[in-house]
């Protein structure tokens, strides 16, 4: 791999715009993701984070703009195109089939041996993948319907790792997870990065974001609203997310400072 290769981002978005009828969900978004980089995407509800992820995973078509993958302009018009390129995604709604068991969901579309499914190999790999995430799933032969929200989220995350992707996008992957599991997912994000892949992480938890992100990209009402380093303070991020220094979050923070007895700061989003 040459130095020039390293400099080209895995993913480069320029002016990506998405309109749903009258609603402009994304307005001229620019975004770069390099090898071995974790980019956190933050923003309030409705900022357009999930829409951006869906465009990059081929679920929605972009209205305007260009997407370069490994330095070449690409059209990601179907989910299978994104998978082919090596873009894998943990969707906010997880996108699992409740009627199928854990193994079938993990390998959906990527089954080992299409004309004579190798259930045993798939089951072993499923256990190993789940083990890497320290997942607490009692049985991989139970339908997804019988799993809890957190367990489902783990399955969805494992699924995204199956194919050794170039870049992995996680849309609020820790929202339903417990403390230990969240830490595992953050460790995993770091491991994926250390292997030289790119990561886009969406989260509302600013501590998690600052802990693992190399860059924090803020979206607000469908537009880029600043890029920060991991050293950015909570107040700076909140200001960028909400669009001003004076907002309900900062007011709550000031209020709790005024009452010294309350040790807890106002953790907003």
């Amino acid at each position: 791999m040459t130095a020039a290769d390293d400099a080209t981002p895995i993913l480069r978005l320029r002016g990506v715009t998405k309109r749903f009828g009258a609603v402009t969900a994304l307005d001229s978004i620019d975004l770069d993701v390099h090898r071995g980089e974790v980019v956190a995407l933050v923003g309030d509800n409705g900022a357009g984070k999930s829409t951006l992820v869906k465009i990059l995973s081929g679920v929605h078509a972009k209205t305007e703009g260009s997407i370069e993958f490994m330095g070449e302009e690409v059209q990601i018009d179907t989910p299978s195109r994104a998978i082919e390129l090596g873009i894998s995604t943990v969707f906010q709604d997880l996108a699992l089939c409740e009627n199928l068991d854990v193994v079938a969901n993990l390998f959906l579309g990527q089954e080992v041996n299409p004309w004579r499914l190798n259930e045993i190999e798939m089951e072993v790999r499923a256990w190993k993948l789940l083990g890497e995430l320290a997942a607490r799933i009692p049985s991989v032969r139970e339908p997804i319907a019988s799993l809890s929200g957190g367990q489902r989220q783990t399955v969805a995350i494992c699924r995204s790792l199956l194919l050794e992707p170039e870049i992995i996008m996680l849309d609020e992957p820790t929202a339903a997870l417990g403390v230990a599991q969240t830490a595992e997912v953050l460790n995993l994000v770091e491991r994926v990065r250390d292997r030289g892949h790119g990561v886009i992480l969406i989260s509302h938890n600013m501590d998690d974001v600052r802990a693992v992100a190399d860059r924090i990209v803020v979206l607000r009402l469908g537009r880029n609203n600043g890029t920060f380093g991991p050293e950015a303070t909570h107040e700076e991020l909140v200001a960028a997310i909400t669009g001003g220094a004076d907002n309900s979050v900062s007011r709550r923070a000031r209020k709790s400072e005024a009452v010294p007895a309350s040790a807890e700061g106002g953790e907003g989003a």
Partner: protein, 411 residues
């Protein structure tokens, strides 16, 4: 036990259902949570046998049962096709008409135009495939719900059937030909029927042993040997008994064996191939399947094509059974019998759950009821009403089981 922890036995919350006792416990759990499997069907068959044979002892005579199996194969094949469409959560209401068109094509090409019957059969299957392709395309391109497009197709195909048959109204098929012998008289030779009867059990045992070794090598828990033996031996005993009983009369219809072989093949496709897995995924969660890179439109095309082609094949078998292609072929209760059979056998109308076996089990129930009512000399008016009620009950069981599974968190 073993010092190396098995992958799937690491979690202490999972009860390891070992041995026969464990199998029974697992079975009871599944029943309780609404995962009924084949139990309702087996109970239904036993109930039907008791009721009808007490009303008319002829019902359980070997010769009548052979007759019943001859009748079951044609509808069964139609039902097998509709399973594929039901698994997607779609429906095909035109399978009866499709089978009628197929029998008309067979009659016109084979008898009127002198084409060899295998080519006529292929033409009928091709007509089915084209019809299915049209339904799937209407759904893919225009989002036309399948119950509307196939309802329109029902009428259009009926028209085509009448057009093909023209003024004559019915075409008699040559009695001495292979298709008619296949449809009316051909039974398995005694020795062959016994040989075939032990294959399912032997296969279950052999594959079971193989799975045990492979799982043990892969450090996974191993299914119990005693359960495997009981399953294989039990299945063998039941089939051997049935074959012996049928051989007391006319024997086992070749047509029915043919049907069972096709069902087995389709069960393999559904459970052991990527294609089958994709069908279940699309039926369970279409958007999730799409995001996993499955081409939902292609899956729909294949399923609708298979459905209509199987309906056409069933129509050809039905024509062989009657030795004629007539205007009545495929009309009346054929449509709903085939759909009811799939649902009774355990294929859900809501998509994502079902099996090829459901066509086999369901068609036995439907044919048994139909045959029993005919033996009682009940008019077709009453037969229709009773079969209608049976379909309604099957759908209610399906819905209730689905609700129960939902409340027990089992999809």
């Amino acid at each position: 036990m073993s010092d190396i922890q098995k992958f799937d036995r690491a979690d202490t919350r999972v009860r390891a259902d070992e041995g026969l006792g464990g199998a029974v416990r697992g079975f009871v759990d599944r029943m309780r949570s609404g995962d009924l499997g084949v139990l309702p069907v087996l109970l239904g068959l036993i109930l039907i046998a008791i009721v009808f044979s007490s009303l008319n002892p002829v019902f359980m005579r070997p010769a009548n049962l052979t007759n019943l199996l001859f009748d079951a194969a044609a509808v069964g094949l139609i039902s097998l096709g509709v399973v594929f469409v039901l698994l997607l959560g779609e429906i095909d209401l035109s399978i009866g008409s499709m089978s009628g068109v197929a029998s008309a094509i067979l009659g016109v090409l084979w008898v009127n135009a002198g084409v060899p019957w295998p080519l006529a059969l292929l033409a009928a299957l091709a007509a089915g495939a084209v019809t299915g392709f049209v339904y799937a395309s209407l759904l893919n391109r225009f989002g036309m719900p399948s119950f509307v497009s196939t309802l329109a197709g029902l009428l259009a195909l009926l028209g085509l059937q009448l057009y093909l048959l023209g003024n004559s109204g019915s075409i008699n098929l040559p009695f001495q030909s292979f298709p008619i012998r296949f449809g009316q008289t051909m039974v398995m030779p005694g020795w062959l029927s016994y040989l075939l009867a032990v294959i399912p059990g032997a296969a279950i045992f052999a594959f079971g042993l193989q799975t045990r070794t492979l799982r043990a090598q892969a450090n996974l828990s191993v299914p119990s040997m005693s359960v495997l033996i009981v399953k294989a031996a039990g299945l063998n005993a039941i089939i051997l008994l049935a074959v012996w009983y049928l051989n007391q009369g006319r024997g086992v219809p070749a047509m029915f064996v043919f049907f069972v072989v096709i069902v087995t093949g389709m069960e393999y496709v559904l459970t052991r191939t990527q294609f089958g897995r994709s069908i279940l995924a699309v039926g369970g969660n279409r958007e999730a399947a799409r995001r996993a890179g499955i081409n939902v439109k292609h899956i729909r095309i294949y399923c609708f094509m298979m459905c209509s082609a199987f309906a056409a094949f069933g129509g050809v078998l039905a024509a062989s059974r009657l030795a004629s292609a007539s205007r009545q072929a495929g009309t009346g209760d054929v449509n709903l019998n085939a759909i009811a059979a799939a649902v009774i056998g355990g294929t859900s109308l809501f998509g994502g759950r079902g099996s090829a076996w459901s066509a086999l089990l369901g068609v036995l129930v439907i044919q048994a009821i139909s045959n029993g009512l005919t033996l009682l000399n009940l008019s077709s008016s009453l037969r229709y009403m009773i079969l209608g009620a049976v379909l309604a009950i099957a759908v209610i069981v399906d819905s209730l089981a689905r609700q129960s599974r939902a409340s027990h968190g089992r999809a």
